[in-house]
Each structure stands twice: as C-alpha cells, then as structure tokens.
C-alpha cells in the first residue's frame, strides 16, 4: 500500500467515523489536555493499522476495535499522561464544539467514566448498538460473559439515573 492510499483511507475514516473516536476519547479521559493526548494516540494507531485492514469487518468495527484497545491500555497508564506543559502553550487537535450539549448526555459520560476501563468499553459498544456476538468478538470474551456484564451495567445506569 502506498502512502497516498493510506492517507486517502485515513482521511475517509476520519471524515466518516470521527464520532466513534470522540465518544471513546470522552469516555476514557476526564480533561481536555488528556483527551487531546488520547485522541492523538488513537489516530496514530489507526494510521498504523490501515495496511492490516482486510475488510473482513466493517470500517467502523475496525475503528472501534483499534480505538478501544488503545484507550484501555492508555487508561491503564493514565497517571503517566498527566500534563506537565501549561495548557495555553499547547497546540490542540481537539476543541470543544460550540453545540449545546444535553446535560443528560454530560451526566451519562460522567457515569461511564466512573466505570472501570473494561466496563466503559462494554457500555460504549452497547450504547452504539453492537450485538452480543459483535461485542464478544471485539472484546474476545464469551457472549454469556458479555450478557452478564451488560445486565449489571444496565442495572447500575438505570438505578443511578433514577436517583
């Protein structure tokens, strides 16, 4: 694959599926500077993954897979990513959008962030409508384990929303 082809695919992915990366970034990192850092890490991994993409799954599933793998490992080392550089000195890739965000959505993100790294990934896949089978394949666990986790997470989120 030439660099130009790789660039074309990358730009297409970013154009069509950047929403997936935004959701994962927001769910896995608490403040703007770390969100930027995680976003950069994910796009680099996506760029590197392009030659391995054999179209056996959809691009969105592939992007989810690569992004979640990156975010989970990144979150595991999150203390390492504490920013030492002053925020105003940095060039940011991500900027908060001007749109008015529903405060219930903000609440939902906060609740997802409170979950552990694994449950966050299950919740994101669940909310984005992946089937148990797809989730089991992305996570590498059995469908019954996916079911157990989903059941627990759903109960937890519904309970907290009623508080």
């Amino acid at each position: 694959m030439t660099e130009a082809e790789q660039k074309y695919i990358f730009e297409e992915w970013l154009n069509l599926h950047k929403g997936i990366i935004f959701k994962i970034v927001k769910a896995y990192s608490a403040n703007v500077s770390v969100q930027d850092d995680l976003f950069q890490e994910i796009v680099i991994q996506l760029w590197n993954s392009i030659p391995s993409f054999k179209k056996e799954s959809s691009a969105s599933t592939w992007i989810y897979r690569v992004s979640l793998n990156t975010a989970i490992k990144w979150a595991n080392n999150e203390r390492k990513h504490q920013q030492s550089q002053p925020l105003e000195d940095m060039q940011h890739v991500l900027h908060e959008s001007d749109i008015q965000i529903d405060e219930r959505l903000t609440w939902l993100y906060e609740e997802i962030y409170r979950l552990d790294e694994i449950d966050r990934s299950v919740t994101l896949l669940l909310l984005d409508g992946f089937s148990y089978k797809e989730m089991a394949s992305i996570l590498g666990i059995t469908e019954s384990n996916v079911g157990v986790k989903i059941n627990r997470i759903k109960k937890q989120l519904i309970y907290k929303s009623k508080k």
Partner: protein
C-alpha cells in the same frame, strides 16, 4: 430513566459532534508522532544494543592491540556479544508482533502482557547482568595493574547502574500488574 431513554440521549450526539478537529494541527501532529513513537519504543533496546555492541568492538580492539593477553577480556567480550544477540532477537520478535491490529481486547491485552513480561525479563536480565560484567571488568582492570582508585570509581559506577536499573525494573513490574488486573476484570463473569 429506562435504558431505551439512555440510548436516545446517547444517539443525540450522532449528528452533531462534541468536538471540532483542527486538521492542520492534526496532520502536523501525525507526522511528528510517527517519528516520536518509533523513537520512544526503540530507545531502550537500541541503547542496550549500542552499549553492548560498542563494548564488544572496544574489547576486540583492545585484545587485538594488546601485547599482554587477558582471559577475562575474552570472557567479557563473549558475554556482551551474547547479551547483544539476546536483545536483537527479542527486538525482532517484538516488532513482528506489534504489527497485528486485528486482535480482540482480550487478545490485545494478552499480547501487551507478553510484551510487558518480555520487558520485565529484559530489565531483570540486564540488571543482574551488571554483576558479572562488573566482576569481569574489575578483574580486567586489576589484572592490568591499574591504581586502586580506578577500581573504586568503576565499582561506584556499577553500583549506581544497579540501583537505577532496579527503578526501571519496578516501572515494568507495575505496568504488567496493571495489565493483568485489566485482563482479570475482562474475564471476570460478574
């Protein structure tokens, strides 16, 4: 709220993104990060390879140019060559493995644990390797009849390297522990 309602709230962001991208900064960042990522992941291995490789060359040069042959020098050179070979083989294996992106989260964590184990073993081996290396070097210097203060300086240097490599080893240990915890969380059926 019922789950369907939560899902509707979640879906409300699908047509309007929560972030805006600065594409110019993004492209600049990709270029610099591509280079930086390679540099960081390679640095410790390359440094070890370089140190061992250069040491072997120096030892061979000293052995070849010295009138007085010293058995400890041969042993040290052979030892360092073996270390360099060990690092090189493991590095090639690691690079080959890092090109897989089609893994599940579980498979990816297993791979990360394998890599963390490799780094842990490497840092442990390199740490304990300081002891025979220090001993052999001190024997070479002692056999060459060098003054005592040189022995003392060398001893201090090796002791310092031993302590520093212990810190590095603990970082790898903590990283592996974190990854194993993640895998347990993923596989736990609760």
């Amino acid at each position: 709220m019922e789950f369907e309602e939560l899902k509707k709230i979640w879906d409300s962001q699908n047509n309007r993104h929560i972030y805006a991208l600065d594409e110019t900064v993004l492209h600049k960042m990709i270029e610099s990060k591509k280079e930086k990522a390679n540099f960081i992941s390679n640095t410790s291995e390359l440094l070890l390879l370089l140190v061992n490789g250069i040491s072997v060359v120096i030892y061979i040069f000293v052995i070849a140019s010295s009138a007085r042959q010293n058995i400890f020098m041969y042993v040290t050179a052979a030892w360092m060559f073996t270390c360099a070979l060990y690092i090189l083989i493991n590095r090639m294996r690691r690079i080959k493995e890092s090109k897989h992106f089609d893994r599940s989260v579980s498979g990816n964590l297993q791979q990360a644990i394998l890599f963390a184990t490799y780094q842990l073993n490497l840092s442990r081996a390199m740490r304990w390797n300081i002891l025979p290396l220090a001993l052999l070097t001190l024997l070479v210097v002692w056999d060459a009849g060098k003054p005592f203060w040189i022995l003392a300086v060398l001893l201090t240097f090796f002791a310092f390297a031993f302590v520093i490599s212990g810190w590095e080893h603990n970082i790898h240990k903590a990283r592996k522990k974190g990854l194993k915890n993640l895998q347990q969380k993923l596989e736990r059926e609760i």
